[in-house]
């Protein structure tokens, strides 16, 4: 039986928020946490990537959404917004997976689905967390984590050991 566990969701949400910030910053867009989301224009068109993952005693999905500008600004070359939203969603979940592996959890990833629309909002089951919103210079980015875990699921304490390579770096065999 899989259940929503607010403590685990909060921890994974924290990892996802941090990863989201790092990815956008790596592509030159600074994200500022928006504590008060009342200023968000919910009628604005959002672009949205959703990617599911599953592993022993855990399953879930990540939703990355945002207005057009942050995606356009981070895109390294002229590309389609659909493709780039999918790629950033992939990178976000890849980074989340790396952190989960450090904490003793293996997950397999799916392939992202990309949507666009107005009034896009997840339907969280209470007491799930609301999406986290970030403001950019001229837009917004949202990230949301939905997770269910099975009996006995645990996250090990965070590892002190360094990852094999930092983001953007390479190593060789």
């Amino acid at each position: 039986m899989y259940r929503h566990n607010p403590d685990i969701t909060r921890e994974v949400d924290g990892i996802a928020k941090n990863a989201c910030r790092l990815i956008f910053e790596a592509y030159g867009v600074e994200l500022t946490l928006l504590e008060d989301q009342s200023a968000l224009d919910h009628a604005a068109t959002l672009f949205c990537g959703v990617l599911g993952f599953t592993g022993p005693a855990i399953r879930g999905s990540i939703l990355l959404a945002g207005s057009r500008r942050p995606f356009e600004e981070t895109c390294p070359v002229e590309g389609t917004i659909r493709d780039w939203v999918g790629e950033l969603t992939n990178q976000l979940v890849g980074k989340l997976k790396a952190k989960l592996v450090e904490r003793g959890v293996q997950v397999a990833l799916g392939i992202p689905v990309v949507l666009q629309g107005e009034h896009i909002a997840p339907l969280p089951r209470p007491p799930s967390l609301a999406p986290t919103a970030f403001a950019t210079r001229d837009g917004c980015v949202l990230v949301w984590v939905d997770i269910e875990t099975g009996h006995g699921f645990k996250l090990k304490p965070g590892s002190e050991s360094a990852p094999p390579a930092d983001d953007g770096e390479a190593f060789f065999f």
């Binding site: 790596a26 790396a98 094999p164 953007g168 390479a170």
Partner: protein, 119 residues
């Protein structure tokens, strides 16, 4: 001039890598998943190295690397991915990969890594 095969399901990432490698003096060819990548290697024998993503539809980058070994299509390979799972890294190494680059891709790091795997 060395020819590099870029295997990534994201067209934007392929374009980014293509531009970076062109600036560094390489020619490129492309595939959007492992199955297409193997087909390109079978058809274009002058490919000197392969850059490949891990998480792709139909056939992942690691499955492609392993097939390259079986089909005797091996080339120096650089895995470019946002993942850093030690199990995947061991698998890539066992399948003959020469290096692993963690996304996001910085052009200077990528160009230097390609030079390095080409020896």
């Amino acid at each position: 001039m060395s020819k590099i095969l870029i295997v990534d399901d994201s067209e934007t990432m392929r374009r980014h890598v293509r531009t970076t490698l062109a600036d560094a003096g390489y020619t490129t060819c492309e595939a959007s998943d492992g199955i297409e990548g193997l087909r390109v290697l079978q058809q274009q024998r002058d490919v000197s190295a392969v850059i490949l993503d891990v998480n792709m539809p139909r056939m992942s980058g690691l499955d492609m690397l392993e097939k390259m070994l079986v089909l005797q299509l091996s080339r120096p390979a650089l895995v470019v991915t946002s993942e850093a799972d030690p199990e995947l890294i061991s698998r890539a190494r066992a399948a003959g990969a020469k290096g692993w680059l963690v996304k996001p891709v910085k052009p200077a790091v990528l160009a230097s890594a390609v030079r390095k795997i080409l020896g």
